[in-house]
């Protein structure tokens, strides 16, 4: 019985669906073709408020492609995306951001010659009454949001090319959570970070989750995935090969899905085993 206790704290997907009927994001039958190659092949995925869904797969399995489609950085060849039940079509990243979908890219997507506030507000600059850039206010706001993530962040007016990997990551994260975010796509958010910063990101994910933000976490780090996610979806060769509650599977099951594209032949849901 003891093993069930932590699971009780974490409502499973079915319960979540009862709590809030419409998913934040619903992707149905998404396809992306490059010439004859199907990078994403009829993938469906949904995400509910306050849920962390891990997106796993080999490099080239199509997970980044799928995330880019949701972020508006790439247009799908076929399929439908619904946000809060409304069908949307994203022509460019601004459309996705307007729908409350923010993305932290693995490459961070920072303009190296600009400073932290300019990057944080890039594309959404604060302006004065006369339409001029309000650099003072952007600096002030950046100071606040960056201090929340990393109290030691002081050199805000340096170009980001001169900052450490951790600081750059913090700017990318701050940019994604500063605005009115409902869905957060995190592509390998801890790949460039040290242990303490990784722990900070994990805390942040839990905090955002508690605020009701839906998070799609692309990660290779099995520890992070099992630590943070409520559900996982696994992609292999462009197809979705598995979608499971995190309590149903073991790390070996997930590895089998990633590598072979299928569960072990003798698989049965882990949480049910425990219950028996």
């Amino acid at each position: 019985m003891n093993a069930l206790v932590p699971l009780m704290c974490r409502p499973n997907t079915a319960e979540r669906q009862l709590m809030s009927q419409t998913p934040l994001v619903e992707m149905t039958g998404i396809e992306k073709h490059f010439g004859g190659v199907r990078a994403v092949d009829r993938v469906s995925l949904d995400l509910y408020p306050g849920e962390v869904v891990g997106v796993l797969g080999h490099n080239g399995a199509g997970k980044s492609c799928l995330m880019r489609i949701l972020a508006g950085a790439m247009t799908p060849s076929a399929g439908e995306i619904r946000v809060n039940g409304q069908t949307v079509s994203f022509e460019d990243p601004n459309d996705a951001r307007d729908a409350g979908i923010e993305t932290i890219y693995q490459t961070l997507a920072l303009a190296d010659h600009l400073d932290a506030p300019s990057n944080l507000f890039l594309g959404r600059e604060l302006k004065t009454r006369f339409g001029n850039l309000d650099d003072a206010r952007m600096l002030e706001e950046s100071r606040k949001v960056l201090a929340r993530l990393n109290p030691n962040f002081k050199n805000l007016s340096d170009p980001v090319s001169s900052l450490s990997g951790g600081q750059r990551q913090v700017i990318a994260i701050a940019r994604a959570i500063y605005f009115d975010t409902r869905v957060l796509i995190m592509d390998e958010p801890t790949a460039a970070l040290g242990p303490s910063e990784t722990a900070m990101v994990a805390d942040l994910i839990r905090q955002l989750q508690a605020e009701g933000i839906g998070i799609l976490l692309v990660s290779h780090d099995m520890h992070d995935v099992f630590d943070l996610c409520d559900r996982i979806v696994v992609m292999n060769k462009g197809r979705l090969v598995g979608a499971h509650g995190i309590d149903e599977v073991t790390k070996d099951d997930v590895l089998s899905l990633i590598v072979k594209g299928e569960l072990p032949t003798d698989w049965s849901a882990r949480n049910l085993e425990v219950a028996q």
Binding site: P93, L108, A109, H113, L122, G123, R124, K154, N155
Partner: protein
């Protein structure tokens, strides 16, 4: 943290920011120092160099390169280059002259010239963003087409007898003081500030304001700094680039009007190789050809370095061929400094 060493400063510095005051500022300072050294050197070499009249001549001569250089700076910051400005300058001047000949007053005719320049820039921008042709090739094509069109339209002959009003922009001056002498001839006491210099100042202030205080300026830097990052951040990079090329074309058109007005003749073969002077001005002033870096004030210093070099070498009796060698060496030197600056 090397916080204490570093004085409070603006956005533009480099990875060395912690060790040095600010590499961009150093570059600009060194350019300014070069400018002052040139002035001092030429003043010693020639009595006539350091005079009010010659100073105004330099202002006049530099204004065309300065206008081209400002447009070029915007394009270079986006990570592109515009090789067509010399030809667009000629085409715009010819367009203005032909409209004047057709009977339109000078002011609207000049506006049409600027629009023709902007249209050439728009074609450059569309070829770069829609057809995905590298800027070097796209604007090289426009360089040939605009020159060819200018020559074709005029039959390669200059258009003259454009009237006094046409020459006012290029030859007029503010605060000119003329005194009538007893013998009936006018004597110029103060030649006045040439209109082209005033125009250059106004355009430079407007461009600097646009680049540093407006959203489009911020997006120009972001696009040149990291195009994909800018796109993912919601910057419409294609529109930003198009804007930069249109501005460059329009300023080339304006420069064409100034130059043709000064000559009171539209020369379809004017402005050959001017693009190189404009690029040199931007690069000497600290713009980086890999994008993301550059300022209008730097380009102004660069334009005056080239202008003063030309003028001073002329005054010192150095041949035009040697001048080319010297300016070529200066450009290589400036890019070399840029390389050192960007070395991690």
């Amino acid at each position: 943290m090397s916080q204490a060493v570093k004085p409070a400063q603006g956005r533009t510095s480099t990875p060395l920011a912690g060790l040095m005051p600010d590499a961009t500022k150093i570059h600009r300072l060194s350019a300014l120092l070069t400018l002052l050294l040139l002035i001092a050197g030429f003043s010693l070499a020639s009595q006539a160099f350091f005079s009010v009249n010659n100073g105004l001549t330099i202002l006049l001569q530099t204004s065309v390169i300065g206008l081209l250089g400002i447009g070029m700076t915007m394009v270079i910051i986006t990570g592109g280059i515009d090789l067509s400005v010399g030809s667009v300058l000629a085409l715009s001047g010819v367009a203005t002259a032909m409209t004047v000949k057709a009977g339109l007053p000078v002011a609207p005719a000049m506006a049409i010239g600027v629009v023709v320049g902007a249209a050439c820039g728009a074609v450059n921008g569309l070829v770069v963003t829609r057809l995905k042709i590298p800027p070097f090739v796209a604007t090289l094509g426009m360089m040939l087409m605009a020159r060819g069109l200018a020559l074709q339209l005029t039959g390669a002959a200059p258009i003259s007898q454009l009237g006094e009003a046409f020459g006012r922009l290029g030859n007029g001056a503010l605060f000119r003081v003329v005194e009538m002498q007893p013998n009936g001839f006018p004597k110029v006491i103060f030649p006045g500030i040439p209109y082209p210099a005033i125009l250059l100042l106004l355009v430079a202030i407007a461009a600097a304001y646009m680049l540093s205080r407006r959203q489009i300026g911020r997006h120009i830097y972001a696009t040149g700094s990291h195009q994909e990052a800018a796109r993912l951040s919601g910057v419409r990079v294609d529109q930003v680039k198009l804007y930069a090329y249109v501005m460059s074309g329009a300023l080339a058109g304006l420069a064409g009007n100034v130059l043709m007005s000064r000559l009171v003749t539209a020369q379809p073969s004017e402005g050959v190789m001017y693009e190189l002077d404009a690029i040199a001005a931007a690069v000497i002033g600290g713009a980086s050809l890999s994008g993301g870096v550059g300022t209008v004030s730097g380009t102004m210093i660069g334009a005056f370095i080239i202008g003063i070099l030309r003028n001073g070498l002329n005054m010192a009796g150095v041949s035009a061929f040697i001048q080319q060698i010297v300016i070529g060496a200066v450009v290589i030197g400036a890019v070399w400094i840029d390389q050192i600056r960007n070395r991690p």
